[in-house]
Structures are given as C-alpha cells and as structure tokens.
C-alpha cells in the first residue's frame, strides 16, 4: 500500500469513527429518553437535529472522492450544535422561576454541557483531520478503503434512528410547540 493510499484509508477510518461515535451518542440520548423517562426539551431536540446534520455531512464525505463539501456541511451543523448547546448551558446556569427542568447528569455533567464538549471535540476532529491529511485525496474510489457493507449498515442505522426520532417528536409535540410535560399524543 502506497503512502497516499494509506493516508486515504486512515482519513476514511477517522470519518467512519466520527460517524459511529455520533450514532452512539444519539442512541444514548434515545436510551435516556425511553428507558429513563427523560423527555427532551425543545433545545435538546434541536441539538439532536444538529448532530444528525453533522452525520449527513460525514456520510457525504465518506462517499466523496475529490471534494470536501461533506466536511463543510458537517462543520455548519457542528457550529449550530455549539451555538444551541452554549445558549442552553447559559440558560440553565442559574435556577430561574418556571425553568426548573434541566434533566439529569451523566458522569456529573449535564447533557447541554456534554453537547458543548461534543461539538468542540467534533471541531477539533475536523481540524486535526484536515491538518493531517490536507483534504481530498483524488483517489479513484473513496469507498473501497472501508468495507462497503459496514458503512452502509451504519448509514441505514442512522436513517432508522432519525425516523424513530421523527415519530417521537410527533408523539411529544404533535404539530405544535414542544414541552417536557409528557407525550401529547398519549394524553
């Protein structure tokens, strides 16, 4: 394997790992919601959208041969995730009347703060990837560096959890404003 091919493979592997970690985080958020009864607030739901958008960009980049458009899409949604999570962290910094709900902590850190950490880690990941590999590799077939079935399975898994999230949002919010009181559809 030549040096260019090796760096291309490593590049795809990093993108795949970033995608897998994001899928795991989204799955953990769903476990918190369904198994532990943590009904997500509107800003939490918007943070999930930003993470899914980031996944979309990563999927595009995994398929791309000679363009960094996917990275651009992922970066836009990462910045959106950072903005929303920082704002929510600042909102929940002090207890305010009528805003008692902040959710539970994971390893002593509340979920919006985890979102800030995740978005900064993503920004660092993209920066390191671009610094190490310098962007597009112009390889003939980008997808051949990773087993096609593994990537395909992860993409389908992401589409499935996106569909579950959509159904969950319809159950929780209907076509109206979202609240954390319960699932509107089951009341």
């Amino acid at each position: 394997m030549s040096g260019t091919e090796f760096s291309a493979t490593l590049d795809r592997l990093i993108l795949f790992l970033m995608l897998a970690v994001l899928a795991a985080i989204l799955t953990a958020a769903m476990v918190m919601q369904y198994a532990f009864g943590e009904i997500p607030c509107p800003l939490c739901l918007l943070q999930r959208v930003a993470m899914f958008g980031c996944c979309f960009g990563l999927i595009r980049q995994l398929r791309s041969n000679n363009s960094e458009r996917g990275t651009g899409i992922a970066l836009i949604f990462t910045v959106l995730l950072l903005v929303i999570s920082v704002r929510q962290t600042l909102l929940d910094l002090f207890p305010r009347p009528g805003h008692d709900y902040v959710g539970s902590a994971v390893f002593g850190i509340h979920l919006p703060v985890w979102s800030v950490i995740i978005s900064v880690a993503l920004l660092l990941g993209f920066a390191i990837r671009l610094a190490l590999f310098g962007g597009a590799h112009n390889t003939a077939d980008a997808e051949r560096h990773l087993p096609r079935t593994v990537v395909r399975a992860l993409v389908i898994y992401l589409v499935v959890i996106c569909a579950i999230n959509f159904l969950s949002v319809v159950a929780q919010c209907g076509l109206d404003q979202c609240h954390t009181f319960g699932y509107r559809l089951f009341q």
Binding site: V49, F52, G53, V83, L90, I156, L158, V159, V169, C178
Partner: protein, 57 residues
C-alpha cells in the same frame, strides 16, 4: 414546527440514500433554516429579547 424540522431531515437522509443527492441537500438546507428559526423563536423573550440578564459579569 419541530415535526417539520425532523420531517425535512428524515427526507434528506432518505433522498440521499436513494441517490437523489441534490434534492437531499435542498431538504437538509430547509431543515437547517427551520432549525435556526425555531431556535431563535425558542430563546427569544418578549421581556429580554435575546439578552440573558440573569448573567452578571
């Protein structure tokens, strides 16, 4: 509104999976715009605007 954000997002994923990549990007952009609009609507307060007066620096 949140349902619309997720609907356009899901549509973007499905269209991308089906090979309709340009339409998928359009759906994703629509989802992004809706998400941004909803975020601003959620954090806007008639009393404070977009400020956070409980933060004293």
């Amino acid at each position: 509104m949140m349902a619309a954000v997720y609907a356009t997002l899901l549509l973007a994923f499905i269209l991308d999976l089906s090979g309709l990549r340009r339409i998928a990007i359009s759906c994703l952009l629509m989802s992004f715009a809706l998400c941004l609009g909803l975020f601003l609507w959620e954090v806007y307060s008639p009393d404070y605007g977009l400020r956070m007066p409980w933060l004293q620096l």
